[in-house]
């Protein structure tokens, strides 16, 4: 996780739940190619599903890392299930909600939902977009003895800053929320 694909953490409950948002911008180059106009149809800019998955991986990864105060190197080990039921258009906001299902010294299993919010209609109910289950491994536990770098190459300064900039504390803390109903 060396690039940041979510914009802001808006809720973080130690070892339980993390909520993040991402704004989808038409300026993102990927939308220019996914999908361009053809001779007989207009452009269809939608965020590719693997990038929606990446947003959930970062949200859930931060949740799992935060649960151990970012001491473990948290690696995405397996996507158990990912179902997509709607599309992610530019000008909308994605909200990722990740929860820990099980966790131990070897890793954690998480479940998550993705919703699409319309900033032009803040009173509307968010549209359900995806359900995603991800299994994370604590790489030092799984690969003991291998020559891995000492420093935590997963949770770089960029990620820790993202958590802090959302107003969250990095260490264990009671439920932290920074948003207002009904928009979120």
């Amino acid at each position: 996780m060396r690039w940041i694909w979510i914009d802001r953490i808006i809720e973080l409950q130690h070892g339980r739940r993390c909520v993040a948002i991402k704004n989808i911008s038409l300026a993102e180059e990927v939308l220019h190619d996914h999908f361009p106009a053809g001779e007989d149809h207009p452009p269809l800019p939608v965020l590719p599903n693997p990038l929606i998955l990446e947003g959930m991986a970062q949200t859930a990864g931060i949740l799992v890392g935060h649960a151990n105060d970012f001491r473990e190197k948290v690696i995405l080990a397996k996507v158990g299930r990912a179902t997509f039921t709607d599309a992610a258009w530019p000008g909308y906001v994605l909200r990722f909600t990740a929860e820990i299902v099980r966790m131990d010294s070897a890793g954690a299993s998480t479940t998550g939902t993705v919703h699409r919010l319309d900033p032009a209609r803040p009173g509307d109910r968010p549209a359900a977009l995806a359900e995603i289950e991800i299994l994370f491994s604590h790489i030092d536990q799984a690969r003991a003895g291998l020559d891995l770098p000492e420093h935590n190459f997963v949770f770089t300064r960029d990620f820790l800053d993202l958590v802090s900039q959302g107003g969250m504390r990095l260490g264990a803390a009671p439920a932290q929320k920074r948003f207002q109903e009904p928009f979120l």
Partner: protein
């Protein structure tokens, strides 16, 4: 006191756990099916299976309890690709739920993965449920 679960009920729950964890069909999950060779499990799937078993049965399973690690990479327990006498004894202790009778004939390291069958998992869970109820 948890309600006593029959072997068939336990098997059916484990069947669902393995369908979800390994994306296999229910008719592939027979007692003698080997998790690695027959059902395509990889190392990370074992962590997934343990988490799903914990959730399905409401039990706590220590990592390496069901699928022991740190045996095959220990020189005391493996020599020339074969499990030593000492290694076999450790496997017996750590895997009371597994049937080692076939394995003992050859002791090849490659065959250790085949000790983990659907039946091994069923027996493991039954013994956990029994010790929990006791």
């Amino acid at each position: 006191m948890p309600q006593q679960q029959t072997q068939q009920q336990v098997f059916e729950k484990i069947q669902q756990v393995l369908i979800d964890a390994l994306s296999v069909d229910d008719d592939e999950i027979v007692p003698e099916a080997r998790l690695v060779s027959d059902l395509g499990a990889e190392s990370i799937d074992f962590l997934d299976i343990v988490f799903r078993l914990e959730k399905a049965f409401g039990i706590k399973i220590e990592q390496s309890e069901l699928f022991p690690d740190n045996i095959l990479n220990d020189a005391r327990y493996v020599s020339d690709g074969k499990v030593t006498d000492e290694g076999l004894e450790i496997l017996r202790q750590r895997l009371p739920h597994a049937d080692l009778s076939e394995f003992e004939k050859d002791r090849s390291v490659e065959a250790v993965g085949d000790l983990f069958t659907v039946d091994t998992v069923v027996r493991f869970v039954l013994s956990k449920l029994e010790s929990q109820a006791a």
